[in-house]
C-alpha cells in the first residue's frame, strides 16, 4: 500500500468506526470496540507514516491531502496517545460499566465522539490546505467538548462551556489569520484553491506580501495558541483537563494541544521564508513559549489538585515546545523530540492520577498520602511519571529540555536561557514537594493495598521504560525522523 492510497482512508476509517460505536448496545462492548478500532487505525497510520518517512512526502486528492516528515512525526505521536488511552479506558471505566454508572447509551456516545475526535485530528495532520486544517481543529473542539461531560456534573458542564466558547472564539480568530494569508497571495497570482495549499504557498513564499502575512501570522498564533494552551490564553485548559474523565484528559494533554501547535508550526516556515529568514515569526514563539513556562510555574507552586497540576504542567511543556521551535536550528529538533517524550509521559501521569482519584475519591493533593503502598502500580506510576515530567535525569524529558537550553545558549540567547532555567527550577521544586508528600506523608487512616493486574502494570511501566531508555540512547531511525521533521520547520539543513 502506498501512502497516497492510505491517506483518505485514515480519515474515513475512524468516521466509520464512530458510526458503528453509536449502534452498540453494551457498555463494555463499546469500550472494547473503541480500543480495537483505535488500534486498527493506528496500524494503518503507522504504515503510512513509515512509507512517508522512507519514501518522502506523499500528496493525493489534487493536493488537498499531504503527509511529510513533520506531519508523519506528529501522526506517530498521536497514534501512541490514542492507543494508550483507549486501552486505559477499558480499565478506567470497568467499575462504572459494571455498576451501571456508564450506561450502554453513554458508552456508545463516548465511542462515537472518541472516533470523531480521532478523525478530526487526523484531518488536521493530513491536510495540505490551511483551510481544511482549520476545519479539523474546530471539529476536534466540538467533538471533544462532550467528552468532558460524559457524566454531566456541574463542574464538568462549567469546564465544557468555558472550553467550547474560548476555543471556538480563538479558532475563529485563527480563521481571520488564514484569510489574511490568502490575501497575502495577491502579488504571487495564486487563485482559488491554490491560495491556501501549504506546498504551493511554500513554493511562492518569496513573492507573497510580507506585511499581510505577518498580520496573518499574529492572528494565527493568538487563535491556535488559545487551543494549544499558550499563556496567557490558557484559562480553559486546567478546568477542562481536571473535569474530563482520565482517558480524555490524556488525549487532551497528550495530543489535542499539539494538534493546535502543529498548525502554528506549519505557518512558521512560510512566514520565515516570506520575510527573509530574519527570525521575526520565531521570536513571537519564543515570547509566548517563555511566558507559558513562567505562568505555568507560578500556578504549579500553589496547586492543590493533582489533575490541575498536570494540566498546568502541560502549559509548561507546550511552552517548551514553542520555545524550542522559536529558537530554531537544533532547538526545533529538540522541541520535536520533547513533543514525543511529553506525549508518552503525560498520558501515563493522567492514567495514574485518574485511577488514584477513583481509589481515594478525591484529587486533592493533601488527601493523597502513601500512594505507593495503597495502590502500588498507580502510585509508583504517578511518582515516576511526575519525576520524568519535571526533568529528572536520565529520563528523556531531561535530555530534550537540555537540548532546548543548549540551542538557546548556542544562539547566544542568554536571557531566554536564564528565564527558561528559572521556570524549570520553580516547577521542579514545587512538584518535588508534592511528590514527597504523596509518597511518604503518613496516612490518617490505613487502608489495605488495592489489587492490580499484570496488564495494568504493563500499560504503565512499558511506556515509562521507553522514556527512560530514550533518555540514555536515541535510536538512529528516530534521530533521522526528528532531523527530517526539523528540516520542514526550516531549522536544520
Amino acid at each position: 500500500m502506498s501512502a497516497e492510497n492510505t491517506l483518505p482512508i485514515l480519515i474515513l476509517a475512524p468516521l466509520i468506526f464512530g458510526g458503528i460505536s453509536l449502534l452498540l448496545r453494551s457498555a463494555r462492548g463499546a469500550l472494547r470496540f473503541c480500543a480495537a478500532g483505535t488500534l486498527a487505525t493506528a496500524a494503518l497510520a503507522g504504515i503510512t507514516a513509515y512509507n512517508v518517512l522512507r519514501g518522502g512526502p506523499a500528496e493525493t486528492a489534487n493536493g488537498w491531502l499531504m503527509l511529510d516528515a513533520l506531519s508523519a512525526q506528529h501522526l506517530l505521536a498521536m497514534i501512541t496517545v490514542f492507543c494508550l488511552s483507549s486501552l486505559y479506558a477499558l480499565i478506567y471505566f470497568r467499575e462504572e460499566a459494571a455498576d451501571g454508572r456508564l450506561t450502554p447509551k453513554m458508552a456508545g456516545r463516548y465511542g462515537g465522539l472518541w472516533f470523531g475526535s480521532l478523525a478530526a485530528m487526523m484531518l488536521v495532520l493530513v491536510s495540505n490546505s490551511l483551510g481544511m486544517m482549520w476545519v479539523g481543529v474546530e471539529a476536534s473542539t466540538l467533538m471533544t467538548a462532550f467528552l468532558i461531560c460524559i457524566h454531566a456534573s456541574p463542574g464538568a458542564l462549567e469546564a465544557m462551556w468555558k472550553y467550547l466558547l474560548m476555543c471556538s472564539v480563538g479558532v475563529a480568530v485563527a480563521f481571520t489569520g488564514i484569510l489574511l494569508v490568502a490575501a497575502a497571495t495577491g502579488p504571487a497570482g495564486l487563485h482559488g484553491m491554490d491560495a491556501l495549499l501549504w506546498t504551493t504557498l511554500m513554493e511562492a513564499a518569496s513573492r507573497l506580501n510580507p506585511m499581510m502575512l505577518k498580520a496573518g501570522f499574529i492572528f494565527i498564533v493568538i487563535g491556535y495558541g488559545t487551543k494549544a494552551g499558550l499563556a496567557p490564553l490558557h484559562n480553559w485548559l486546567p478546568d477542562a483537563h481536571s473535569q474530563a474523565p482520565a482517558p480524555v484528559s490524556a488525549v487532551f494533554s497528550g495530543f489535542l494541544l499539539n494538534a493546535a501547535l502543529y498548525c502554528i508550526l506549519r505557518c512558521l516556515p512560510l512566514v520565515e521564508a516570506a520575510t527573509g529568514n530574519e527570525g521575526w515569526g520565531r521570536s513571537i514563539l519564543v515570547i509566548f513559549g517563555l511566558l507559558s513556562i513562567l505562568v505555568a510555574a507560578a500556578f504549579i507552586v500553589m496547586q492543590r489538585d493533582v489533575k490541575r497540576l498536570l494540566a498546568y504542567s502541560s502549559v509548561e511543556h507546550i511552552g517548551i515546545m514553542a520555545l524550542g521551535a522559536g529558537i530554531g536550528g537544533a532547538g526545533a529538533a529538540a522541541a520535536l523530540f520533547h513533543l514525543i517524550n511529553h506525549s508518552i509521559c503525560k498520558p501515563i501521569a493522567f492514567f495514574c492520577a485518574g485511577r488514584i482519584g477513583q481509589i481515594y475519591g478525591t484529587h486533592d493533593l493533601p488527601g493523597l498520602t502513601m500512594i505507593i503502598r495503597r495502590a502500588p502500580v498507580w502510585g509508583a506510576g504517578l511518582i515516576i511519571s511526575l519525576l520524568a515530567l519535571v526533568g529528572v535525569a536520565p529520563f528523556s524529558v531531561f535530555l530534550s529540555e537540555f537540548l532546548v537550553l543548549k540551542a538557546a545558549v548556542d544562539h547566544s540567547l542568554y536571557v531566554v536561557a536564564a528565564l527558561f532555567l528559572l521556570g524549570l527550577g520553580v516547577v521542579f521544586i514545587a512538584v518535588l514537594r508534592h511528590i514527597i508528600a504523596m509518597a511518604w506523608k503518613p496516612a490518617e487512616q490505613q487502608a489495605g493495598p488495592v489489587k492490580f493486574s499484570l496488564p495494568e502494570a504493563l500499560l504503565i511501566f512499558i511506556p515509562l521504560a521507553i522514556v527512560l531508555l530514550l533518555g540514555m540512547w536515541i535510536p538512529g531511525p528516530l534521530l533521522k525522523i526528528l532531523s527530517r521533521a526539523a528540516q520542514v520547520l526550516g531549522g536544520l539543513s
Partner: protein, 214 residues
C-alpha cells in the same frame, strides 16, 4: 448592484446596533437571524462573473442555516430555560450602543490605515466586517447569559465571513462547506450545552459558572 450591496451593508451595521441595545433574548435571536440572511445575500450582490451558480448555491446554504436552522435551535434551547431577558449585563445597553459607535469609527479608521487589497465593489465591506467582529467579541464578554454569548459568536462569524468576501477572491467550495458545517455543529453543540447547563444549574447565567478556579 452597488446600491443593493451598500443597503445590505448598512442593514448589517444596524442589526449589530440592535443586538447591542436589546435585552430580550428572543428578539436577539430574531435579529441575529436577520443578520445571517443579510450576510447570505452579500455574495449574490457582489461582482462574480461566471461563478453565479456556485455563489447562489452557497448563498442558499448560508441563508438556510443562519436564517432558519440556527434560530430554531436557539429558540428550542431558550424555551427549555425560563430566561427570557438578559438581567443586569456587565455593560448597560446605552453604554453598549456607545461602544458600538466607537467600534464603527475605529473600524473605518483601521480600514484607512491597513490598505487591504480589496476585491469587492464596495469600500464599506471591510469596515463593516471589522465592526461586526468587534460587536461579536463585545457581546461575548459583556453579557452574562450563555445565550447572548452564542449570539455574539454568530455575529463574530458573520463579521469574519464579510472579511473573507472582501479580501479573498473565491474560496474553494469544499472549504466553504467545511467551514459552514463546523459553524453549524458549533451552534448545535452550544445549544445542547445550554440545555444541559439549564437542567443542572436552573439558570443559563454563564457568569455564575465560577466554581473552578486557580
Amino acid at each position: 448592484m452597488i446600491i443593493l450591496l451598500d443597503t445590505l451593508l448598512v442593514t448589517l451595521i444596524l442589526t449589530g446596533f440592535l443586538l447591542l441595545g436589546s435585552s430580550r433574548l428572543g428578539a436577539s435571536i430574531r435579529i441575529s437571524a436577520l443578520q445571517g440572511i443579510m450576510t447570505g445575500l452579500l455574495p449574490l450582490a457582489l461582482e462574480h462573473g461566471d461563478l453565479f451558480s456556485y455563489v447562489s448555491l452557497l448563498g442558499v446554504a448560508v441563508i438556510g442555516l443562519k436564517g432558519y436552522v440556527f434560530p430554531r435551535l436557539l429558540f428550542s434551547a431558550l424555551r427549555e430555560s425560563d430566561t427570557s431577558r438578559e438581567v443586569q449585563p456587565f455593560v448597560g445597553y446605552m453604554a453598549s450602543l456607545f461602544f458600538g459607535i466607537l467600534f464603527l469609527m475605529g473600524s473605518f479608521w483601521l480600514d484607512t490605515r491597513l490598505n487591504l487589497p480589496v476585491h469587492s465593489g464596495s469600500d464599506l465591506l471591510v469596515p463593516v466586517a471589522f465592526s461586526l467582529m468587534s460587536c461579536g467579541l463585545f457581546l461575548i464578554v459583556a453579557r452574562r447569559t450563555a445565550m447572548s454569548q452564542v449570539i455574539g459568536y454568530l455575529v463574530l462569524e458573520n463579521g469574519i465571513y464579510c472579511f473573507g468576501l472582501a479580501v479573498v477572491s473565491g474560496m474553494p467550495l469544499l472549504l466553504e462547506l467545511g467551514v459552514l458545517m463546523d459553524i453549524f455543529v458549533a451552534v448545535f453543540v452550544m445549544g445542547i450545552a445550554i440545555y444541559h447547563i439549564n437542567r443542572e444549574f436552573d439558570h443559563i447565567d454563564a457568569d455564575r459558572l465560577s466554581a473552578l478556579k486557580g
